[in-house]
Amino acid sequence: MNNVTQIVQKVRQAPWRVQRQWIGLFLLALVLMAMVAGIYLNVTVRATLAGRETIALRASITTNQRVNADLETQLAGLISIEAMRRRAETMDFQPANPDDITYVAVPGYLSQSAVDLSTPGINPPVVPIILPEYTESWFDYFINQQASSASAGDQP
């Protein structure tokens, strides 16, 4: 028993063993830091890429909206009253005189009503942009995973 105690004492007191312990701890800390830095770098790069892509898409949307507005205005110019009158004249149409017009009642015909420019469905249902994995706790995560796997298993 005494010998064992002496050996343990010697090992603990050996300088190279103390140094190895410190080196081991340092390396462990280094590895942990490298892991955290790696994860951080990865997330940052992905976020940056997503941000750049968002900016590019937003710029693209803006450009498309401007081009659409431009085209709509051009189209309106092409079908303007004056343009249509000129086109009708080139096709040898003549304006109808009141004497040329006969009113014919067509059953079921509805005269032109005012326009409705509302666009139903333009606002899609709001969905969360941030995934739940980024907001829920570990406990919530595991509970949700359990629930989803259980519900998947219930399906025929």
Partner: protein
């Protein structure tokens, strides 16, 4: 404790690293606050810039675009690219840009500027021409290229119909402010909310601009087809009569929706810079709302409506109409200066007898009742129509310092009182709409977040009863038929009244050589779909409204019955009978 023999090395390394770190921090702070950086910001490389959202579009009631947006360009010059100025100026000249303005801008640029704006709101055609030249000159071995020119696309206002409904629409200047008409009245909702940011003057350095919600789109009550037809008729009328100006308003008497509103002159809104040339001096932009005048005999319909409603006369009431009547110590004569003998009230309207109407207002109604009805019809007050720069006209009342008793007589036939065409239209809506006077408006609907909210009909008041409204409509329809008016349209029964009015001079008295001619009417009488008001100022070919204005009313109605799908009375009654 014994110190490690090489500890000084570690301490030295730590000290050096700490010094280097502190030096880096000091340098960062120094650069941030250095006068050089502040100078760069102050000397034009950074500017405060307003970012305007796309302006809301304006449609007519059937979805035809009246005011939209188009792409225009800001053309700039990258001074760091060492531009070859003679080549660039030659290219700008070939494109048709104004070199005087561009030279002035270049002369104002600070020495260390990196980017300057040469011109803005350049049309896509001109920008395309310049881009083509730039491509052609790219890579020129002598360095005479146009690579330093930079194009930045943005929105500009565009009016595809040019001058159609220009008096209603108004226009937008380059600073995105609406002026006159709808553009001014609804500027706050059309323009959206601009954002102001400090950005590099060189647009290539600004990587992200703010996303701003666009302005709201609006739909007008104006019907493009009716508006075009009315403008064409008005232009032709001015040419035929050599009148100095003209105005036509078409309104739905049940809803107050303005279907067409035209006045002269008109402006091509895409060249709004010419506004001072087209509207010199005090010329109103839209006479229908901004020019008050003495309407003359068209106002007799309001006098007669008030008299019928108050019960002092009936259509069959007969009175002797002499050569003149004395009111407030002054003689009032008929339009022809003659006596007309015994006349019933329909005859008084049909023959437009001033003496008869003065008798009604002065002898039968009295000033309290007469002016009460005129006020109920909205005379003397702006209608509140949703167009910029409406004026209210003037109805002098007993008790006003400049009111004289004779005006009780003259006001009965539309002299001594000033109104705008839109006021007369609103007042007449009570006669055409079962006694209910409607609020005239131009906004049909506005679109927000994809949802359309329509403007509701507003009843401004009920100055007369429904039975009175029917009675006066019948009287006016009969009077048109009695006089075989030039306003009659075959197949349709219409109610209406002419007005030939003297024009007051600024110094007092009346213009002896010019008159205002008007016509107001509605139809079909038993179910009115439209009110039409015609006003020609100072026609030269003839001075009688029955000759000048009534045929214009007829032309407008002939178009309206087609464009509004109004069947002839006989067909409509057959359809109802089924």
């Amino acid at each position: 404790m014994k110190r490690h023999p090489h500890a000084w090395r570690y301490l030295s390394a730590a000290f050096i690293m700490a010094v280097v770190g502190i030096a880096i921090l000091v340098q960062i702070v120094r650069i941030q606050n250095s006068p050089e950086v502040a100078g760069v910001i102050n000397q034009g490389n950074y500017i405060w810039k307003d970012f305007y959202p796309p302006r809301g579009e304006i449609y007519d009631r059937h979805g035809n675009l009246l005011a939209g947006n188009k792409t225009v360009y800001e053309i700039g010059l990258d001074l760091t690219a060492k531009p070859d100025m003679p080549t660039i100026m030659l290219a700008l000249q070939m494109t048709g840009l104004n070199l005087t303005d561009i030279n002035y801008r270049i002369s104002q640029v600070p020495d260390n500027a990196q980017y300057i704006v040469l011109d803005d709101f350049i049309s896509a055609d001109k920008a395309d021409t310049l881009m083509t030249l730039q491509k052609a000159a790219h890579g020129d071995p002598t360095g005479k290229n146009l690579d330093a020119i930079y194009f930045k696309a943005h929105y500009g206002r565009s009016y595809p119909e040019n001058d159609l409904a220009s008096n209603v629409l108004g226009f937008v200047t380059e600073d995105n402010h609406g002026y006159l008409g709808i553009e001014e009245k609804y500027d706050n909702i059309l323009a959206g909310i601009p954002v102001r940011m400090l950005v590099p003057a060189d647009p290539r350095r600004a990587t992200e601009y703010p996303t701003i919600p666009p302005g709201q789109t609006i739909i007008l009550t104006i019907d493009r087809e009716i508006q075009a037809a009315v403008e064409k008729i008005l232009d032709q009328a001015l040419e035929n009569t050599r009148a100095s100006s003209g105005t036509i308003v078409v309104m739905d008497p049940h809803t107050g929706e303005i279907l067409a509103m035209s006045s002269t002159p008109r402006l091509n809104l895409n060249d709004y810079q010419n506004v001072k040339t087209v509207f010199p001096g005090e010329t109103p932009f839209n006479r229908a709302i901004s020019q008050a005048y003495e309407p003359g005999s068209v106002a007799k319909i309001l006098t007669m409506a008030g008299a019928l409603d108050s019960g002092v006369v009936k259509p069959e009431t007969v009175t002797f109409v002499p050569e003149f009547i004395v009111v407030g110590g002054f003689k009032i004569f008929n339009w022809d200066g003659g006596a007309w003998g015994y006349q019933d009230m329909t005859g008084c309207l049909a023959n437009s007898l001033n003496v008869c109407l003065a008798w009604v207002s002065d002898r039968e109604m009295g000033s309290a009742s007469f002016y009460s009805y005129m006020q109920r019809f909205g005379l003397g007050h702006a209608t509140g129509i949703d167009l910029a720069q409406e004026t209210s006209g003037r109805l002098k009342l007993p008790g006003d310092s400049d009111w004289t008793p004779v005006e009780l007589g003259t006001n009965s036939y539309g002299q001594g009182v000033s109104v705008t065409p839109i006021q007369m239209v609103m007042a007449a809506s009570a006669l055409a709409n079962d006694g209910q006077m409607v609020f005239p408006h131009v906004l049909y609907a506005q679109i927000q977040d994809g949802k359309q909210s329509n403007t509701k009909t507003q009843i401004v008041g009920s100055p007369i009863s429904a039975s009175t409204a029917h009675t006066i409509s019948e009287m006016l329809a009969n009077s048109l038929e009695i006089e075989s008016s030039g306003a009659l349209v075959p197949g349709y029964r219409l109610a209406g009244k002419t007005g030939t009015a003297q024009i007051p001079l600024p110094g007092g008295g009346y213009d002896q050589s010019n008159v205002n001619t008007s016509f107001i009417g509605w139809g079909p009488v038993d179910d009115p779909r439209f009110i039409v008001y015609v006003w020609l100022e100072k026609p030269q070919t003839n001075k009688a409204a029955s000759v000048v204005a009534a045929p214009i009313f007829k032309q407008v109605v002939e178009k309206l019955v087609v464009l509004l799908d109004v069947p002839p009375d006989a067909v409509r009654l057959q359809m109802i009978g089924r």
